[in-house]
Amino acid sequence: MSADLEFENLVRLYYRDLYRFGLSLTGNENDAADLTQETFYIWANKGYQLQKAASVKGWLFTTLHREFLKTCRRRNRFANESVNECTEDLPNVPPDCAERADSQTLLRILGEIAEDFRAPLVLYYMEDLSYKEIAEVLALPLGTVQSRIARAKIQLLRRLSEINLPVEQSK
């Protein structure tokens, strides 16, 4: 397979997931598209360093996350709030709380969660990676990743249940 075709296939295979991850992190469509594009270009220049084809997906997610963190440092514009350390109790949330939120509302609430917690939570929901892979992407210990996901998930569910969400007209 030629390098061009290989690159094209890789883009077609992963650009949606990377864009969604980028959008969840940034909350901005343009920033998400830029991050996705930049990630593939980094791959085009450095991807040869990968030893195993199976690790491509993890590498792409890792790179996008790193680029996002760089952007955060440069712009310091993705404001968010940290997850309260005392939110360990499991919330009683209505089972349909997620159904009543559209994608934009979900993204908005995700954007309010601190980045340290948001990134693992989004990877958790996207279900592309195992916990071990998520830990590798974020360069965090497995236990830290699981702890952050649990706390961020509780906050997300709590927010979803608290917000006075309009019932989707299409339902």
Binding site: L23, A101, K153
Partner: protein, 208 residues
Amino acid sequence: MNTREAKKILLLYRGPIDDSDPQFRAALDYAKSDRELGEWLREQSECYGTIRAKLRAIEPPPDLSEKIVRGRPIPFLRDWSRIGQLAAAIVISVSVTALLMKWSERRNGAIGGGQEIVVTGEVLDMTCYIASNLSGPDHAKCARICIRSGEPAGIKAQDGKVYLLTGEPGQSINAKLADYAAQVVTIKGKKSVRDGFAQLQVEEIRKL
């Protein structure tokens, strides 16, 4: 394990993707025996599935993939093994070329050449100079006759070095040089060495 502990573990459970993860096994078994926990797990799974579906329903801009493919940078692949091979090929190629040139020069009897120099000195009749060490104004007449008749001519530079004077390949320079026999002139020409003998292909003669 109690219900609270099982809930904490199962909060992270996503479904089939985590079935092979041993950390969930005991809690899942516990949920089978606890009706309330089982119901909670079912609701959690539904909620998880809904959020996941909403996240996955987000579509990138329609032209994003094409934009990425079109704008792909030309990679500079630093494949060191290939670069090493290329460098080795260049070194071998240059070495072979140099050897061939040297062999060719030796075959033709010439080593070096083509360097343009300017020499100032006396024009010699080489036959008399080499055979009898004759030169200078006293030998001028003989030298003029010898050179005009086609005997080799030379120039003795001020540093004592003697060059055999030649014309363009296939053309004699003797008719011109005969007029300057035993005189001091400045000659511009291309220097070369043949079998250890220095020669100067005359381009310009100037009388001092």
